[in-house]
């Protein structure tokens, strides 16, 4: 182990512009990765960096009109699930959003209902009224735009179903649109926000983005409070710089701008493949990692081998997950990265 850490410190100490990618890790792991990236003048990114970049861009440009999972589950009377990914990601999502027991006090006495916008038809329990609107040719952004026009009563709505849903949304006490940032690009996200803000003039409405895989939201929040910017931020200059395209891991490796990669894959959920092409240190809790890594360091799995602070859907925030099978045999991502930082400091001092 010591020699692997020393070799990693060698490799990274020589690197001119290292990328810290993957980042399937807990808050302490993210904190340590940010600290090391800052020390070495590298880049911080996440395997779900594309989704995080979209969410970050929307909030930076326009803001947000969001709801927590708990408020949606307890108080939304019309829930619109946008696209197919929300139900693909969590087959029990409808059950969680429509629990059998009555939720917290909320206005109105309408029966709670579900709208599936685009995506595939799904079955809900009989007690949940369901409307499914199919996207023509699978074009979800167009369907969202048409719904926006219908809600705002702009132009002619030729689709009767859309007109009915728009009417229900206007009459709803609290409508929430649930979506996955992996499935919708920025224009569609802006349109959703416009719909919600239009509805909010007279009533209440909000969006709820599904949690980004790999503790993406947690890592992104940690990056934000640490350096004021989301992931895909470079520490190479005098002040940190964020650029969702320039500092994407894949692009930096492909273009040869980055000269080292630290890939972190240390959660119970399946991580992503890392891009090949530069000297690579892999921190993994997933067993054999395949060909191509110069140095592999086995680490504990956050939430399984050790307690971990992670973004949790039910509280729409960072919570604590106790280890299901605590072990002290494996180091944490945080301890490995901190140790590498110390070894680099020691070499520089020598």
């Amino acid at each position: 182990m010591t020699s692997a850490l020393e070799r990693a410190a060698d490799l990274l100490g020589r690197a001119r512009f290292p990328v810290f990618g993957g980042l399937f890790t807990d808050i302490r792991g993210a904190t340590a990765a940010l600290a090391l990236a800052e020390k070495l003048g590298g880049v911080i990114d996440h395997a779900a960096g594309e989704s995080l970049a979209r969410l970050s861009l929307i909030i930076r440009e326009r803001g947000a009109s969001s709801a927590s999972f708990g408020e949606t589950r307890n108080r939304a009377d019309v829930i619109v699930i946008v696209g197919s990914e929300p139900l693909e990601r969590d087959s029990d999502l409808i059950g969680k959003l429509f629990p059998e027991e009555k939720g917290l006090p909320c206005p109105g006495d309408q029966v709670r209902e579900l709208v599936l916008l685009g995506g595939k038809q799904a079955s809900a329990q009989r007690r949940v009224p369901l409307t499914w609107i199919e996207a023509d040719d699978g074009d979800l952004p167009i369907l969202i735009a048409r719904l926006g026009a219908a809600v705002g009563e702009r132009g002619e709505t030729t689709n009767d179903q859309l007109a009915i849903v728009a009417e229900r949304l206007r009459a709803a006490a609290f409508a929430v649109f649930v979506y996955s940032a992996a499935e919708l690009e920025e224009p569609a996200l802006f349109t959703l926000l416009d719909i919600v803000r239009h509805l909010s003039i007279a009533t209440r409405a909000a969006t709820l983005a599904l949690a980004v895989p790999g503790n993406g939201d947690g890592v992104n929040l940690c990056s934000t409070w640490t350096c004021g910017l989301p992931v895909r931020t470079s520490f190479a200059g005098a002040v940190p710089e964020h650029d969702a395209r320039k500092f994407a891991t894949d692009r930096l490796i492909e273009s040869g701008e980055a000269d080292a990669l630290v890939w972190i894959d240390a959660l119970a959920e399946q991580g992503e493949h890392w891009p090949r092409g530069v000297p690579t240190v892999v921190l993994s809790s997933q067993g054999p990692v395949g060909e191509g890594a110069d140095i592999v360091i086995e680490v504990g799995c956050a939430g399984r081998d050790h307690d971990a602070a992670l973004f949790l859907t039910p509280i729409s925030g960072i919570g604590m997950v106790e280890a299901t099978n605590p072990t002290h045999d494996k180091p944490t991502v945080a301890s490995v990265l901190s140790r590498i930082g110390e070894l680099i400091d020691a070499k520089e001092a020598a």
Binding site: R60, A64, E71, N74, P107, R204
Partner: protein
């Protein structure tokens, strides 16, 4: 090791001390002059001013809400710097690390985050732990959460169960006190209310804002928590709201209570524009009710961002967003509103807000009850404090500022007629002694033997802005951390919280509540020592006897 700080003017109002003398430090604490021993280290500070490290009782430095602000406004430091505000034009300049560094450079050693969301306390505590040098503590928010409201349904008082619930919430989040933000107003917003007054009732629950505050106030008093409920009133920022503030003060039943950023409630509705200073009326009530403390929430001109759990008022304010973007996050309990704002000296309303804040400071009969704050970042970024110290201590400086303001401000503000200048000792009260006393942090805010050796040394100068922007020396727990206005050693502080104790049954009941309504176990959002790798991170503030 014995350290001597020799020959400075020691300003320590808690001990009625304002005289040239020495301070001695050993093992991180201030000690009496030890007889027959030579100090191991001497700092000669002849001609300098010595004060206890400053304590900020209300500054949004950590947690979901301020980080939403960072997500919305990464350009805030750049915008502020471009206007000449003393901040580096980097998004990192209002990150956790820079926050601790800048506070320390000004001589601050303890800062209170006033709005931890109960279910998001882990993020707030992780962020506080990422702030170097200063000690911190958090206030946890109740009063718009459904558990409290259910206990108060109809005309019930909540009784012992409310007391246990408050105690459990404080312990679960490792908070130092309780925050109440527009009690019932955020819940009413969920029923599409757009205004909410002191005697309005929360829909469905049928409990008034007044009753929520009174019940929680009683619970905190019964628990003997040193810091009284920290209250953000209804109707923030609305012309004529001074009547709400006065009614709220008069409703406080002689139990201790703290009102936050009271400037935002100091508004009358006189004058041609229907907006005037309510400071005289407000301060008459504050001065009379000795159970009441306030912090001011001073406004300063320039770019900032407003961040608040008062989602109802923030929703209303979104139209004034500058730049034109905003966040309304309809979260559990209060939710959050984030609205960027630029206070302009040429704006009648903003200029009057600025004047009202200063009036409140200067009309306070007892500075021990009128504490310093800007409600960072809501009234101004905390980096502006030295400018405000200058304004409070120098009437000529105030006159210079007043000259640049719209003429009609003078018709509805009394500031121009106020000649009072706060003394350095009074400044030490509102930034050191009073916050420490209010928080129950008896080991700081003063320079007596036994106090934590948090000490700031300044060069006395007429320009108080320059004086307080950069301390000559700052000691944190006896270690030198700042020299010539720059951090020379990055240490890590502690986080203070209370443990009032509760009947264990409450845990089962609250767990059943969260299981049913949120599908989550309490352990998922409980703050434990595991939040950092520093074993001595948390320290308990004893409850009153």
């Amino acid at each position: 090791m014995l350290i001597q700080i020799r020959g400075g003017r020691v300003i320590d109002p808690m001990h009625d001390r304002d005289a040239v003398g020495d301070l001695f430090i050993e093992d991180g604490r201030i000690v009496a002059k030890p007889e027959g021993r030579n100090p191991d280290e001497v700092y000669d500070v002849g001609g300098k001013i010595l004060m206890a490290g400053a304590i900020d009782v209300h500054s949004h430095i950590a947690g979901t809400n301020i980080t939403l602000g960072r997500q919305l406004m990464p350009e805030l430091p750049a915008l502020a710097a471009a206007e000449g505000q003393p901040i580096l034009a980097s998004p990192a300049a209002w990150g956790s690390y820079a926050t601790g560094i800048r506070y320390a450079e000004m001589g601050y050693t303890t800062v209170i985050e006033p709005a931890m969301i109960p279910t998001h306390a882990i993020e707030a505590q992780a962020e506080l732990a990422a702030i170097p040098i200063i000690d911190t503590a958090g206030l946890v928010i109740l009063g718009n959460d459904d558990y409290t409201l259910e206990l108060l349904r109809g005309a019930r008082t909540g009784g012992d169960e409310l007391k246990d619930y408050v105690a459990w919430t404080l312990e679960h989040s490792k908070a130092i006190g309780l925050k109440i933000i527009n009690a019932g107003g955020s819940e009413a917003f969920k029923f599409n209310a757009r205004t909410f007054d002191l005697d309005d009732e929360v829909p469905d629950y049928g409990v008034s804002s007044r009753a929520i505050v009174e019940s929680l106030q009683q619970a905190v008093a019964d628990l003997r928590v040193p810091h009284p409920p920290h209250v953000h009133c209804n109707n923030r920022g609305i012309a004529g709201n001074v009547e709400t503030a006065v009614a709220t003060i008069e409703a406080t039943q002689d139990l201790p209570i703290h009102f936050a950023h009271i400037q935002f409630y100091g508004y009358g509705d006189a004058g041609k524009k229907g907006f005037s200073s309510g400071a005289p009326r407000l301060m008459e009530a504050v001065n009379k009710h000795k159970n009441v403390t306030v912090d001011v929430g001073q406004v300063m001109f320039g770019q900032t961002v407003t961040v608040s759990g008062d989602i109802l008022r923030q929703f209303d304010a979104r139209g004034a967003a500058s730049p034109k973007k905003w966040v309304i996050n309809q979260g559990d309990g209060n939710g959050t509103g984030v609205v960027p704002y630029n206070y302009r000296a040429k704006s009648f309303v903003n200029a009057l807000q600025w004047a009202i804040g200063l009036e409140i400071f200067l009309m306070a009969e007892d500075p021990w009850r009128v504490l310093f704050s800007t409600d960072h970042p809501n009234g101004a970024l905390f980096i502006r404090y030295p400018e405000i110290f200058h304004l409070l201590t120098d009437r000529d400086e105030r006159a210079r500022w007043l000259d640049d303001l719209p003429a009609d401000v003078h018709e509805v503000s009394n500031l121009a007629g106020i000649t009072r200048e706060l003394t350095l000792s009074e400044l030490a009260v509102i930034t050191r002694g009073a916050p420490a006393r209010l928080l129950g942090l008896t080991d700081r805010g003063h320079l007596g033997p036994g106090a934590v050796a948090d000490i700031a040394v300044y060069t006395d100068q007429k320009n108080k802005r320059a004086m307080f922007a950069a301390a000559d020396l700052v000691f944190k727990s006896g270690a030198l951390v700042v020299r010539d206005g720059k951090v020379v050693r990055v240490a890590w502080g502690r986080c203070y919280h209370v443990e009032p104790g509760f009947d264990a049954q409450i845990k089962r009941r609250v767990n059943a509540f969260y299981d049913r309504y949120y599908g989550v176990d309490l352990s998922r959002f409980g703050v434990t020592e595991a939040i950092t790798h520093r074993p001595d991170r948390f320290a308990t503030v004893p409850c009153l006897n």
